[in-house]
């Protein structure tokens, strides 16, 4: 199947300016060479610690940010350098849901005008038609019709997130980037929103790029999961595989850190020292090997640390610091040195 979204070697760097003349001294390499595909109807989960670049990647995908280099193909068309004007008609097809619906909904607009706005911008329907569509959307996301004439701040967090979802759905998009859509919500409300997202996906054949730091939530909703560390994808596999059989040391550490909701089954934790290093001046070799003070760190400098296929559809960074010896050897010798994109 041709992918709906295909990102190749994407980089998003932010300039750091310093000194009196605000000279461009260095760059924050927030996203540094990421390649990913999302198939129609698929959910790709993206996990990683704060500051690893996952939100930046999400924003670049819907072109709220302009990538420094690399390509983003959406439905076959390269949108990575497209102008805002030429993007506008395309934006119908990719929408975004934000973490904090309180900050992404205009407090001076009624719920109706918030959901109606995309139709007005794209010149769709007469005012009666728009009204009918807004009502249908409210109903679809589980909000009473009476909420249309109220303001977003009158609603609870979960209901606000439903408004955000209704707005994203308005133009029948093909892809929705969900940036931490449930992390601000209580567990009981979180499960309501997750159920809604799964239902909508089935009904409309949506694809999701689902960004979250809660690994149990990501496992629940994703078909495949990408683990991001310091601007790079370090492991990519089906949700089932990545949780059952993680190969990268960082993925293993991340999974072991999830608190288990069963007091009799406390997992042995791999405690990481320190925090994610600064993306301004990332280590030359393996970023995670550097954090772990790995004895083979020197060896990793200058190596190609990009994703390799270790078993069918399971991709992991070829990094001597982060793989067990057996896996590392297999990647070195195996014929499976296919590029990092599942076909």
């Amino acid at each position: 199947m041709t992918p709906l979204l295909s990102i190749s070697d994407l980089r998003v760097h932010f300039p750091v300016r310093a000194g009196v003349l605000l000279r461009h001294t260095s760059a924050v390499k927030a996203v540094d060479g990421v390649s990913l595909d999302i198939a129609p109807g698929e959910t790709l989960g993206l996990v990683g610690e704060s500051g690893c670049g996952k939100s930046t990647l999400g924003k670049a995908v819907v072109r709220l940010l302009k990538p420094t280099s690399g390509t983003i193909r959406f439905d076959g068309m390269d949108i990575s350098q497209a102008s805002q004007r030429s993007l506008r008609p395309l934006r119908r097809d990719f929408q975004m849901i934000f973490q904090d619906p309180a900050e992404s909904l205009d407090p001076r607009m009624s719920v109706r005008s918030i959901i109606e706005e995309p139709y007005i911008i794209h010149g769709i329907g007469s005012s009666t038609e728009r009204m009918q569509r807004v009502n249908a959307l409210l109903d679809r996301v589980g909000l009473p019709l009476s909420s249309a004439d109220r303001y977003s701040f009158e609603f609870s967090g979960g209901q606000r997130q439903r408004i955000g979802i209704a707005r994203a759905l308005a133009l029948n998009p093909k892809l929705i980037v969900c940036d931490e859509p449930v992390s601000a919500l209580d567990v009981s409300i979180q499960s309501q929103i997750l159920n809604l997202l799964v239902e909508l996906q089935k009904d409309f054949g949506l694809s999701y790029l689902f960004i979250a730091h809660d690994l149990s939530v990501v496992k629940h909703i994703s078909d495949r999961v990408a683990v991001m560390y310091l601007g790079k994808i370090v492991e990519l596999a089906s949700a089932e595989t990545i949780y059952r059989d993680p190969r990268h040391a960082y993925t293993k550490a991340l999974l072991s850190a999830i608190p288990s909701p069963d007091p009799k089954n406390r997992r042995e934790k791999i405690l990481l020292e320190g925090d994610v290093p600064s993306p301004i001046d990332p280590p030359a070799g393996s970023a995670f090997g550097h954090r772990m003070n790995h004895p083979r760190y020197e060896e990793s400098i200058g190596l190609d640390l990009s994703l390799k296929e270790i078993s069918p559809d399971h991709h992991v960074a070829a990094d001597p610091c982060c793989l067990v010896e057996e896996d590392w050897k297999r990647l070195q010798s195996g014929p499976a040195n296919i590029a990092n994109r599942p076909s």
Binding site: E49, S50, S156, G157, G158, D186, V187, S188, I189, Q190, S191, Q192, L194, N195, V198, Q201, H213, D214, L215, S216, V217, K219, H220, I221, S222, D223, A239, E240, Y243, A253, L254, S256, A257, I258, P259, S260, P261, D262, P263, K264, R266, K269, L271, L272, G274, D275
Partner: protein
């Protein structure tokens, strides 16, 4: 109530209200629980269920002038500290009872160096010279495993990462070797990896310093990892109380079950329909006097106009006895 000699803290029928435009509203409605010595007690519930207000009532850090404690007792080491005066309370807070707040950036003063802030705790609670306080503070940073503590003492809070800041807040709370620590969502703002570090640190310090902990969180995973006893709160009341193992293995109240069932675990099948609790917590002013969970579920509470009782159904396992919400008690006893 249990034998008081084993309990460092006993909260008995605590009532806390807030002055609002719509009159006095009860946020905490006769909450009772105990904290055994050296143990960790978790308070769990959704936002707005009164867990933080309960904890802040214990140390009397309620928003003023709106927050008022209107009844009940809080026995700390046998003394009712609800009747302590402000000076006594200041000595207890930060001295005998340490508090760890959720948002470390809000708990630290952005314009003072870390060293000054940690040393200040020693200066306030102990007769100690500036130099000795500074040394004690450095020692404290070492204890919470901050690398290069001498250097960090000279930093400002914004120089540090979220995890490091939370370690500083823990250092502040533990400086005077308190016997009770109240941790209000200590890891909610942190990444899972950093959360694991902080929880591990708290566990180690707990066994080193022999302290009791009240852990307030909405994360049942954190509860399962750290707590000995669990108090489940809903709409200002305790609906269930038991050991952590018992709560997870044998929840009795419909609300506890709802909470436990709504979290996706690594074992739940992908994209399956998760259990949800319909509706949301009613606002304070709309709370019924009868069973509040029935109110949320939209059940006509029938005969239950009165507040449901709170009974011990098996040793150490207490539950609110609303017939609608705890249907399987009869089967058990």
């Amino acid at each position: 109530m249990n034998d008081s000699s084993e309990n460092i803290l006993e909260v008995d029928k605590l009532i806390t209200s807030f002055e609002t435009d719509r009159g006095l509203q009860r946020a905490v409605d006769q909450v009772s629980f105990v904290v055994p010595e050296g143990k960790t007690v978790g308070i769990v519930g959704e936002s707005g269920c009164g867990k933080s207000v309960t904890a802040m009532s214990i140390v009397r850090l309620l928003p003023q002038p709106a927050g008022k404690i209107l009844g009940g007792h809080v026995y700390f080491k046998g003394h009712d500290i609800l009747h302590a005066n402000d000076a006594e309370m200041r000595a207890i807070r930060g001295g005998e009872i340490g508090v760890i707040f959720q948002e470390p950036m809000a708990a630290l003063n952005p314009v003072h160096r870390i060293g000054r802030q940690v040393a200040e705790v020693f200066r306030l609670h102990q007769k100690i010279s500036k130099k000795d306080a500074w040394d004690a503070a450095t020692e404290m940073l070492k204890l919470v495993r901050i690398p290069a503590p001498e250097k960090r003492m000279m930093d400002y809070p914004h120089h540090l990462s979220g995890g490091m800041r939370q370690r500083i807040v823990i250092a502040l709370a533990l400086a005077c070797r308190p016997s009770l620590v109240i941790a209000d969502e200590p890891t909610t703002a942190l990444d899972v990896t950093v959360q694991a570090q902080i929880l591990d640190l708290m566990e180690r310090l707990q066994s080193e310093m022999k302290m009791s902990i009240i852990m307030i969180t909405h994360d049942l995973g954190v509860i399962a990892e750290t707590c000995d006893e669990v108090v489940v709160m809903y709409a200002g009341r305790v609906v269930e109380r038991a050991s952590a193992e018992e709560i997870f293995a044998n929840p009795l109240h419909a609300y506890t079950k709802g909470l436990l069932n709504s979290i996706p675990t690594l074992e739940t099948p992908s994209k399956s329909v998760l259990n949800t609790i319909p509706g949301m917590v009613a606002s304070l002013a709309d709370h019924t006097h009868g069973c509040r969970f029935c109110q949320r579920m939209g059940r006509k509470t029938g005969g239950m106009r009165e507040r449901p009782g709170f009974a011990e159904v098996s040793p150490g396992h207490w539950v609110e006895t609303c017939p609608e919400c705890t249907s399987n008690i009869e089967h058990r006893t």
